[in-house]
Symmetry: C2
Subunit: 357 residues, 2 copies
């Protein structure tokens, strides 16, 4: 497995003694294994610096996953007794150990008792560097996930939304996505009227009515890869102030997109959007970063923030999603997924002009 080899090179280079990997996007990225629902039972891939590895997994998964060296444990066995033997066989007794970031404390507490003198580090110190740079295959899956998001946007705006609650629309979006993709990359956000002034709004029982601006923020997961799109639509005759704001956000988003190229810093993209909005007098109302990386997770490196010095490289993928939020009035956000080539390339392409329903 190519990625595993590369991972081992980094591991040795940075002088780690081993890695303990539970299921999640890193395990999937490195090995292709994505067992469903293993929260309660120990499922652990152990790797040492010689590149030897052993999988410990519940018997339940015997037919689902495959690994060269593996031990499947049944419910009558204690997996930590097996782990103790495996640690010995791999000569993994302590030292600098990488641990999957999302491993549950209940596993880690037990594992630590079997290790002497060790210092633990999050696995992501290596995997985030690897995962940040997408290969052609990954980019084509992300493109697919983005196309599904576009499609769902056109489908949802073809429906009559007036009188439906935010919650109901969010549910409809989720089901549209789940019919076309593996699932949602996060719970859809629908924020209407004054609710749209809160970028972290949870869909409520508030019903859509004429005059509303409605923020729709959602994404699909396709073979593990995420998309994430936001469009803001107007219902009926649009408020003049929000219409003006819409144009500012649209141009800020375009300006950030145009700034993207190999070799600039992540913060330069943030600045392009932020400067545009500040010059129009709305700087205080753009209250979050311009974007975030996405891939197997919907939030990952590179973050497009005011302080991120990360140099953009070919194959990096992230969102560009400036927004303006006016308390007691509403808000506008426009978000696309972008891949870095020589310049930037948009993966999402749904209509960016103001859609009035």
């Amino acid at each position: 497995m190519d990625r595993m080899k590369k991972f081992l090179e980094f591991l040795r280079e940075d002088d780690y003694d081993g890695a303990l990997i539970t299921p999640g996007s890193n395990l999937y990225y490195l090995t292709g294994m994505a067992p469903q629902a293993t929260e309660e039972r120990l499922f652990l891939l152990l790797v040492n610096r010689e590149g030897e590895s052993v999988l410990i997994a519940p018997k339940l998964y015997e037919n689902e996953v495959e690994w060269e060296n593996s031990v499947f444990w049944s419910d009558e066995e204690n997996p930590y007794e097996i782990l103790e033997r495996v640690l010995a066989s791999l000569n993994l007794k302590g030292g600098k150990i990488l641990v999957e970031d999302t491993m549950r404390a209940s596993f880690l507490i037990h594992i630590e008792r079997l290790l002497e003198d060790c210092t633990l580090y999050p696995l992501s110190v290596i995997t985030r560097e690897m995962r940040m740079r997408k290969d052609e295959k990954e980019l084509s899956l992300m493109k697919k996930a983005a196309e599904i998001a576009d499609k769902v946007f056109y489908e949802i705006i073809s429906r009559d939304l007036v009188g439906k609650s935010e919650k109901q629309i969010a549910l409809e979006i989720e089901f549209l996505i789940r019919e076309l993709a593996d699932g949602v990359s996060f719970s859809p956000i629908v924020a209407s009227g004054k609710n749209a002034a809160n970028p972290h709004h949870t869909p409520s029982e508030r019903k859509i009515r004429p005059g509303d601006f409605v923020i729709l923020d959602f994404g699909a997961k396709y073979e593990g890869y995420c998309s994430d799109i936001t469009r803001t639509i107007a219902i009926g005759h649009p408020n003049e102030k929000l219409k003006e704001i819409y144009e500012v956000v649209k141009e800020a988003q375009e300006s950030a997109f145009q700034s993207v190229r190999e070799g600039i810093k992540a913060k330069d993209v943030d600045r392009a959007a932020r400067d545009y909005i500040s010059e129009r007098g709305y700087g205080n109302y753009f209250i979050h970063r311009t974007g975030h990386g996405l891939g197997l997770e919907v939030h990952e490196e590179p973050y497009i923030s005011q302080t991120n010095e990360r140099i953009l490289e070919k194959g990096m993928t992230f969102t560009i999603e400036p927004g303006i939020y006016i308390p007691n009035l509403g808000g506008v956000r426009i978000e696309d997924d972008v891949a870095v080539e020589k310049k930037g390339k948009r993966l999402t392409n749904a209509e960016r002009e103001l859609v009035i329903l």
Copy 2:
């Protein structure tokens, strides 16, 4: 907060020095706080044995959660610097520390570096004992969650299922639940024909056809509390063998239900179902435990297994779900949620006689 007081009594009684609680069902149970989506940012309630506590939470949640002593940190701050000060103020330097079972390793790794000489224990050693015994309020919420499951069963069997895929039906069930409840307590299982021989089947593209027995296994979450029901239905003229098996499972389930009373052991309930099935010659095809506790989580104590010596008490709630699985033929499982009073009381009540569509 009453539960918090009781928790502190247990904590002192068992001589722990403190607890570190991240969001999840324990935090909700003890404090009522259920912040949405905090995976990436440190949200931590610290408690010492004197009963003093401090909440460290992202600024984002300032208007959503309330705690007597709290520090909200902004994205420009390092939450672990704040944590260091809070640990000192609580005089929590090490010792026997309880840690929320589901805390992410990435948090725990950082927290451990700030503690000297400590031994960590899963928080659930205390909370599972507390949560196992439901009070009246909790039981009424569980009843509500169970009623929603019943309702969804009647609605889904009123639809024409022939020609639909397992995946499609699972999606429809989920949609029905989410319109009536907070959400699903787990991803619905739909297993048809030969697929029903695998109790852990994931809904596939297989389409329902006449002659199938179809296992439907799903549950709703209502104000945090879970239901979990399984019914097996027949499509068209039922296979004679499966019809016979259906009756065995139904009687085994009834027999386990009738065995429930205060003071017996969890394993006695398992035995009632297992003995009935074994006597009919299907013992080798009943390949899982008879049930599991449920409450804020869909799998919790008390587990209804062959070995669990736990004495049943008033207020405990669990599933009774025997099944028979015949490779290359199919399977039958019937599951109800049951609360312990003097005797058992079923919370789910959907039709248990074979439904033939």
